[in-house]
Amino acid sequence: MRPTLDESKPIFQQITKMIEDDIVNGELKEGEQAPSSTQLVAYYKINPSTVLKGMNQLVDDQILYKKRGVGMFVADGARGKLLEARRQTFMEEYIGSMLQEAGRLGISTDDIYKMMEEMKRRGER
């Protein structure tokens, strides 16, 4: 979890994003218990209704499920669902804006491939 919230996004969305990140990174595994709303309220000093809004969003998206009187748990298949959704966002946002900027700079698709190879090599070194 991130230690602080910022004002770049509604707070309940930041809560959902953080829990999703933890699931994607494997820090929170399927079947494991998600942080309780009490913990989140105390940690971020935010209204419980805001936390609930974020948690309910994750329940609606079938990322978490409620166990009555116990808490929220990570649903089976949650990670796969998130990875698929992020893949889509990756294409639409990262790749989309990359192509736009490349267009502005007159960089061809071939050049982009070459740049990607180059960056990959640097990363492996």
Binding site: V41, N47, T50
Partner: protein
């Protein structure tokens, strides 16, 4: 606790500070009361706390008028910047004396809070620093577990760590013992997160009452090339405009439809949220010109 305010007028002598104020507060929510200096926040809260009567209109607390109604008054607690300079009692005794009027008072919780705030309980209240005096009142406010608890700038003189502690304890105890809480504050950015519903008073009346998340959705900053930003925000209420070179940023007061958001994305306009404090500043702008 359920509170219904009907067409309240509040004032001194012939002068009204607030007029035509109507609102309803539901049970077990945390409300934020915001308003610029001198707009009548404390006067309104004094009426809610039954410290004074409205000049006109009616206030109903769980269906009863609170003024001079002992049964209702013991369920309302108003923490405000009161003068404690003559309180010669020791903190311990002062708290115990107040507790006598509070049926739900939790003495163990009060002791715990005194330790957390590092309050010297054997010292006379009047000899404490401003921050510690505020802390003692916060302890009283929390440990009383009143169905309606009002904190009117209760943090005065507290340093940042003490304020953090205050926020943490309010939320923790609210979760364990839900009740209606009103926070009146100037430290909007610090306390925004705690608030579920916002009331803003301005220009002698209640400007708005709205769920905080919904209120925040009203504010959007549109950034991009000047021409496009101007075209996109055409016909919308503009709160603030800023320009740097050919890039323009306009803050609008408008809830955008999904279609408009898509359109903004297609035109490469960046949409950003607006913080509660900034929204408040612009919604209440120009208030001084009307005052007095």
């Amino acid at each position: 606790m359920h509170i219904q305010a009907e067409n309240l007028s509040i004032g001194y002598g012939s002068k009204n500070i607030l007029e035509h104020v109507s609102f309803e507060l539901e049970e077990n929510k945390i409300y934020g009361l915001l308003g610029r200096n001198g707009t009548g926040k404390t006067s309104l809260l004094s009426v809610l706390a039954a410290f004074r009567k409205p000049k006109a209109g009616r206030i109903m607390v769980n269906g009863e008028e609170p003024f001079e109604n002992a049964a209702v008054m013991e369920t309302i607690l108003f923490v405000y910047d009161s003068n404690l300079e003559d309180e010669t009692e020791k903190v311990k005794k002062w708290l115990r004396m107040n507790a006598a009027f509070r049926p739900n008072y939790d003495h163990d919780y009060a002791d715990y809070l005194c330790r957390r705030f590092n309050i010297p309980v054997n010292k006379a209240v009047k000899d404490l620093s401003k921050g510690l005096k505020s802390a003692v009142q916060v302890v009283d406010g929390l440990a009383s577990r009143a169905s309606l608890t009002i904190f009117d700038e209760a943090y005065l003189g507290m340093d940042a760590p003490a304020r953090e502690l205050f926020y943490e304890e309010v939320l923790k105890d609210y979760m364990e013992h839900p009740r209606t809480i009103i926070l009146s504050t100037h430290l909007i950015s610090e306390m925004a997160g705690m608030i579920e519903e916002v009331l803003i008073i301005n220009d002698g009346t209640l400007l708005l009452q709205q769920d905080k998340e919904q209120l925040l959705e009203r504010g959007t900053t549109v950034t991009g090339p000047k021409e496009k930003v101007l075209a996109f925000t055409e016909g919308k209420k503009r709160l603030k405009e800023q320009q740097l070179g050919s890039t323009m940023s306009i803050m609008i007061d408008a809830v955008l439809s999904d279609q408009e958001k898509q359109q903004a994305k297609a035109e490469n306009l960046e949409l950003g949220p607006v913080a509660l404090q900034e929204l408040f500043i612009h919604l209440t702008e120009g208030a001084e010109q009307h005052a007095g």
